[in-house]
């Protein structure tokens, strides 16, 4: 049977569809980008239905990460920790709001953790040669470096609203903001992405924060690496909107001498790598806090670490030790289980 198709109306309909189709909203997808920054591989994901906006936001987020890195790194002449160290105890004026916030937070956590985390351990970190040339120092060098560490001996002054000055109160004292600056930068990068989307993940080398949820409506799914085998995930977590997690592990950076492993998580009170815990995973409302407390809990050890985390509102943690057979032993704060997948 031959059917007559009225030509003009059909053409008009086809034209209408052709014009309307590109205007349809694309389904929201996860736009992600990975790049090296702050000495590690950072992966940023943002949910968006417009790739152009998403990419531009990712550009700005990475730029913000690099900006914060430049301000807070111990390893550049122009960074603020370097300026403070060179000042040799004199007041340094006009400290950036970024460093001001990070240092304030770091010192607060130092107080709360009884010095297990200490942002003034720069000379100690340098004595061990991290990150470029790690090597085993002798006891005298370590003792001398420990003498320069002391979170209580840092002073802050507000000259005028927005004009902050800091000074390092011990001879030879140097800042190392590494244990908290990365997490803080992650939070700021997430703020950038939140400008274009309610849903994102910012992950810098395992320190991450999530906002919103996956496009399918479920909460973001986060894997926790097995400390004995980096290719394995031994635990999965579901993190709700506005949750951060960070992990400190003895497998992240280490070197071996005569069969003994020396890792980069030093106890600022003794000067030597903390022994007991192999990985500390902390969940917190922001990544700066998670980052610093992961280091603090690691240094405190399984028992003291869990106790300290329990005393802090809003923090949950999982500390992993090994038993005699080499199996994982988990030590968790009571509330940690609600994040398990």
């Amino acid at each position: 049977m031959r059917v007559r198709v009225p030509a003009r109306p059909a053409a008009a309909l086809a034209l209408l569809v052709a014009i309307a189709l590109p205007a349809c909203d694309r389904a929201p997808t996860v736009e992600s980008r990975t790049d090296f920054v702050m000495g590690t591989l950072a992966e940023l994901k943002v949910v968006s239905d417009d790739p152009v906006t998403a990419r531009e936001a990712l550009d700005r987020a990475f730029a913000r990460l690099r900006e914060i890195e430049a301000l807070t790194t111990s390893y550049a002449e122009t960074s603020e920790p370097a300026r403070l160290a060179r000042a040799n105890g004199a007041w340094v004026e006009g400290v950036s709001p970024e460093v001001d916030e990070i240092l304030t937070l770091g010192l607060r956590i130092a107080a709360e953790s009884d010095g297990a985390f200490d942002p003034t351990a720069g000379a100690l970190v340098a004595a061990w040669g991290w990150p470029e040339d790690p090597a085993l120092p002798d006891s005298a060098t370590v003792a001398a470096a420990v003498a320069t560490v002391g979170w209580r001996d840092v002073e802050r002054a507000e000259r005028a609203p927005g004009r902050i000055a800091w000074r390092l109160g011990r001879p030879g004292m140097k800042l190392d903001l590494g244990g908290v600056a990365k997490g803080w930068a992650v939070d700021r990068a997430a703020d950038v992405l939140l400008g274009v989307s309610d849903h994102c993940i910012v992950n810098a080398g395992g320190d991450l924060v999530v906002r919103g949820h996956r496009p399918d409506g479920k909460a973001w799914l986060i894997g926790v690496q097995d400390p004995r085998d980096a290719s394995r995930i031994f635990l999965k977590l579901r993190l709700p909107d506005g949750t951060a997690v960070a992990t400190s592990g003895d497998y992240q950076r280490f070197f071996e001498v005569d069969g003994v492993r020396y890792h980069h998580l030093l106890d600022p009170r003794t000067g030597w790598p903390a022994r007991d815990v192999h990985s500390a995973t902390v969940i917190a409302p922001d990544c700066a806090t998670a980052d610093a407390w992961a280091t603090a809990a690691f240094v405190l050890g399984a028992e003291a670490g869990i106790a300290a985390l329990e005393r802090q509102p809003g923090l949950e943690g999982l500390l992993v030790t090994y038993d005699a057979k080499g199996d994982l032993v988990s030590h968790e704060t009571p509330g940690f289980a609600r994040y398990r997948e």
Binding site: A27, T29, V30, E31, S32, R33, T34, D35, F36, L41, E43, K45, P51, A54, R55, L58, I201, N203, G206, D207, L208, V210, R214, P215, D216, W220, L221, I222, G223, V224, Q225, D226, P227, A230, I233, K236, V245, A246, T247, G249, S279, T281, E341
Partner: protein, 135 residues
């Protein structure tokens, strides 16, 4: 003469029996490879490596777009409808882009100037690839 050589018949006649055996063997070999390398099972993720190092893992059960740094230029890889493809690359011939979507386990897309390979792998059936990893 030479003009006799450059026709299909001419070329065929120029081949000695040994040549023909070798050529046929290679052709059959390529068919055999095509059959043997047939992917088995559904892939669950696309693993992206640059110079052998894994830079991204894309689960295939959800749409996503990633931009990674290749040796030469950024490369954009997209997952859509359980298939993965390279959508943008600043390499000279864009062979990787023209390879189009891949959806079977074991298939790969390679961008040589970027030392980048996208490989489809099947994981455990209940893989539930995480969105991010801490550790």
């Amino acid at each position: 003469m030479t003009s006799d050589l450059f026709s299909v018949r001419g070329l065929w006649r120029a081949l000695t029996p040994a040549d023909r055996i070798v050529s046929l063997a290679l052709l059959l070999g390529s068919i055999a490879l095509g059959v043997a390398a047939r992917p088995s099972g559904e892939p669950t993720a696309a693993v992206v490596t640059v110079g052998g190092e894994v830079v991204a893992t894309l689960p295939l059960d959800r749409d996503s777009r990633v931009e990674v740094q290749g040796r030469l230029s950024p490369v954009t890889i997209e997952v859509s409808g359980h298939a993965v493809r390279v959508t943008e690359s600043a390499c000279p011939h864009r062979i990787c882009v023209r390879m189009g979507p891949r959806r079977h386990s074991g298939e790969i897309i390679a961008c040589v100037p970027n030392a980048l390979v996208v490989r489809l792998t099947g994981g455990a059936p209940d893989a539930g690839v995480p969105d991010a990893v801490t550790g």
